[in-house]
Amino acid sequence: MKKKRPVLWIVIGLNLVVLVALAFVYPHLMVSPGALVKGHAELTTDCFACHAAWRGASSDQCIECHAVADVGLRTTKGVVIAKGTLTGTGTATGTVKGSFHQELIEQDCMACHSDHQGPKLTQRSRRPFSHVLLKEAIRGQCSSCHASPKDTVHRDLKLECGQCHGSRAWKPAHFEHALLDKPVLERCESCHNGPKDRLHRQVRGRCGTCHQTQAWKPATFDHDKYFVLDRDHQAPCETCHVNSDFSRYTCYNCHEHSQAKIRTEHAEEGIRNFENCMECHRDPGVEPGKEGGRDRKGRRGDD
């Protein structure tokens, strides 16, 4: 025969009744999965402000207070929100212009927002903002939400960011030099710092003489095309290119080649037009007129 314990049952029963009652009085403690965001603090005990019974939180409930047309533009109290922007690096200044909320392909607040902070249980279901959520038309108009950087590279650009940048991250960018105006394109130093090694310290010309815009290396300049720098010609650039002016050269800065000596040498051959040495002497190891040299025909006398 089992003993009945009415007192025990009554105590347990009362405890449970109290607990269930507490769930109704303090739902934010008893059933809420975490504290609400600051802006919704006043709804802490009003679960049904956002939750529809048996259906969970729904966008319809959000829209009751947050009219889609006003999101990012006016507060729920009707106060106009100052239009800030996102900088190119994604740092917010003020609030993002409201356009993007109005331009989403679907009005599903829960897809991105979860008001219960803290537990991973609710956070993990959140979808990070993706530009794919934007309508096609607005997706390419970055400036409607973002301000472009004001550095030298971006200052004069009148292009959409998407020409160089992806929508997932600002870097890496794929810059196309062809998009620059010609004067800007020729002033590499306005965006780039030149190397400071021994060779480049001497160079004061345009980078484009030796380098291409696609990549710094390999350098395209081939000195041999103009003059072969053999064993006897391993001199500093300045010796031939005075003042680092690479558009000109002289051979008279070397004791081997004085103007008087050269004139005498060429006069013996009957050559009077000998100002442009490179015309005949491209390779110091090859005599002009021989294989690899240049024919002197037609250069004798005045021409």
Partner: protein
């Protein structure tokens, strides 16, 4: 003493081991889900866990003659196995996160429930049997009742304590049922199942 029933070593420790195994295994599975970034699985384990626990009550119903079918001894095995496994899944589902009080109370009630159940399983039935065996052996050796009482004093004390504890298994089950139901109702009421 070789003739002692040695309840502590033979019964209390296995009981604790079973309880600790439940906790450690739950932590291990929870840790694994965290590691593999599969937390969503843990969230859904509450459902199979609850179903297993509900399934385990077949023995309770049979014992109280609310159902007539089934072999009680076999149903008891199933009761033990399913309730333990269901509790494991619910424990993983609860994780080690403190969110809502109601859910936590339900988990604690469940753990106390498992504890009282294991008490019945490990301590009471077998300790009664061992105590009886020891008594028989000692009687056969010609010990007097007084000597018997003296020798078996601590074992008897343990036995009485666990007997008292087992008594609360059913009320605790009721408390757990109400708390779990309240938690489940709250989930159905507020969650969008997304």
């Amino acid at each position: 003493m070789a003739l002692r029933a040695r309840l502590l070593r033979r019964e209390v420790l296995p009981f604790l081991a079973s309880f600790v195994a439940l906790a450690l295994l739950a932590l291990a599975i929870d840790g694994l889900l965290h590691l593999l970034n599969l937390l969503w699985i843990g969230r859904w384990l509450g459902i199979p866990g609850t179903l297993l626990i509900i399934g385990s009550t077949a023995y309770s119903l049979r014992k109280r003659k609310l159902i007539q079918r089934g072999h009680p001894a076999r149903l008891l095995r199933w009761h033990e196995a399913l309730a333990w496994l269901g509790s494991l899944l619910v424990l993983v589902h609860a994780g080690v996160h403190f969110n809502a009080i109601l859910g936590w109370l339900a988990v604690w009630a469940m753990l106390i429930n498992v504890g009282s159940g294991l008490t019945g399983k490990f301590l009471l039935d077998r300790s009664r049997r061992r105590l009886e065996e020891a008594r028989q052996r000692m009687r056969a050796q010609g010990l007097t009742d007084e000597e018997l009482a003296d020798r078996l004093y601590w074992d008897s004390l343990t036995f009485d304590a666990v007997k008292q504890w087992r008594v609360v298994h059913f009320p605790i089950t009721m408390a757990f049922t109400v708390l779990a139901t309240a938690h489940i109702v709250a989930i159905f009421l507020f969650w969008g199942w997304k």
